[in-house]
Amino acid sequence: MTTTLPVLTVDDLSKRYGSGCAACRDHAETALQGNTCRHCGTVHALSGVSFEVHPGEVLGIVGESGSGKSTILNCLYFDEEPTSGHAYLAAYERGAADLWTASGERRRWIRNHLLGKVYQNPMLGLNMDFSSVANIAEKMIAANDRHVGRMEARARVLLEHTRIPTHRMKTSPRQFSGGMQQRVQIAKALSNEPPILLLDEVTTGLDLSVQARVLDLIKQIRRDVGVAMILVSHDLAVIRMLADRTIVMRDGRQVEAGLTDQIMEDPQHPYTQELVYSLL
């Protein structure tokens, strides 16, 4: 019915660790135990994952540890190489060119200009030897902005937006609490105004009150900036609060996808039912 182009399209994404054997490539159902081949030990981290993300939409990806949900984001951010599959961003070559066939140089350009990622572990997303302002400037320099005054002004706006106190902006995030580090990561991810944000377990391991503040920030960004997001979490409560649509992953496969409230209240798949009914 609605006809706008998706911000992101992922088509038939697979990721294997190991070369695979005849058994697990052709008869995955009988050869695999969980996501691992009984015969050759190859791990099938992702098998044939496809989805779209639309403008302004928050897509939740939920599943247990090892279900493959973070691997999806790693492949999209070029942290890992997919074994097979295609991905298209509307903002890159008008959605006509596969991201995963792009050259290394083009990949860096896509990552710096069109993507923002927030890692579960802030050590991966931030340079702890730089100040918070410099962390944001680094991403902007990577996106070819070299005007120092403009970079600093933008960094300050973003850090204010993510409620980092002004007097601490020149401090290294190393000295920050977990919640503050996540907020600096979010500010950094937003600095190049990407059409899509990739959020990997951003509230995992934070105190509940800090978690609430990060969730509130995500909701606020969504409302004010209108950026599309993929929100990966094992926490159904987080997904329920923020995601419009949700994909349920298990052993590298999508077991169910639907409107988030439908997934929570009328889950169809036995595994989703198990997951939802164990929610406190």
Partner: protein, 232 residues
């Protein structure tokens, strides 16, 4: 007579609980029309399938059989049972509202923000959304002192007023009311009643479940009765 805004034809739903190897019937062959501006109440005992019908229309539940024909402003005549997820999300943002007895909000969001952000989702600019949120909270007599507080700390009646204001600020064409008065005292109930009466005069089409039959009479144009998943 006006064309119906919503027509359900033979809508059925059963839930399969895999772990228990159980099949639970929600409703069967539900058929009715909702005319523009009409306020229809659904009565029936707990477990008779009343909420199931509302949740099917809102698509929180996936219908298994039947048709739910809706005359949408944006999309024309569509079958809600088969509409894609993006269309359903767009309708929820713009045309179809849902009020339950529970208020589910992001923690640390103030009452004013809860109501305001519902309107901003429709693309309204921030200052207009804020003004309208404040107008509605005033209209529903939520004490001003609570506007900048978190609804988690509110009483049942206060939460409900935030909940209704959040649904109403988008001026939905259809409002689904899932036992909104269940947890309220008599005074709060009468306020909700007055509120629904005023929505009706503004032309909102409503379909609601109320436990209190006496409360419903005089507000609703007509009542549908459900028993064991079947509309009688």
């Amino acid at each position: 007579m006006n064309e119906p805004v919503l027509s359900l034809r033979n809508v059925s739903k059963a839930f399969t609980l895999h772990a228990q190897e159980q099949r639970v019937e929600g409703c069967r062959d539900v058929t009715f029309d909702l005319a523009p501006g009409e306020f229809v109440g659904i009565t029936g005992r707990s477990g008779s399938g009343k909420s199931t019908v509302l949740k099917l229309i809102y698509r929180t539940y996936l219908p298994q059989a039947g048709e739910m024909r809706y005359a949408s402003e944006a999309f024309g005549s569509i079958d809600l049972a088969r509409a894609d997820e993006r269309t359903v999300l767009a309708l929820r943002r713009q045309e179809i509202g849902y009020v339950s007895q529970f208020l589910r909000v992001v923690p640390r969001t103030t009452a004013r923000e809860v109501v305001e952000s519902a309107m901003r989702e429709t693309g309204t600019d921030p200052s207009a959304a804020r003004a309208e949120a404040e107008r509605l909270l005033e209209h529903f007599e939520l004490p001003k002192a609570l506007w900048e507080s978190f609804p988690q700390t509110f009483s049942g009646g206060e939460k409900l007023r935030v909940n209704v204001a959040r649904a109403m600020i988008k001026r939905p064409r259809i409002l689904l009311l899932d036992e909104p008065t269940a947890s309220l005292d008599a005074h709060s109930k009468s306020k909700v009643r007055a509120l629904l009466a005023s929505l009706k005069t503004e032309g909102t089409t409503m379909l609601g479940i109320f436990h209190d039959l006496a409360f419903m009479e005089g507000v609703c144009d007509r009542e549908l009765h459900m028993e064991a998943g079947i509309l009688s």
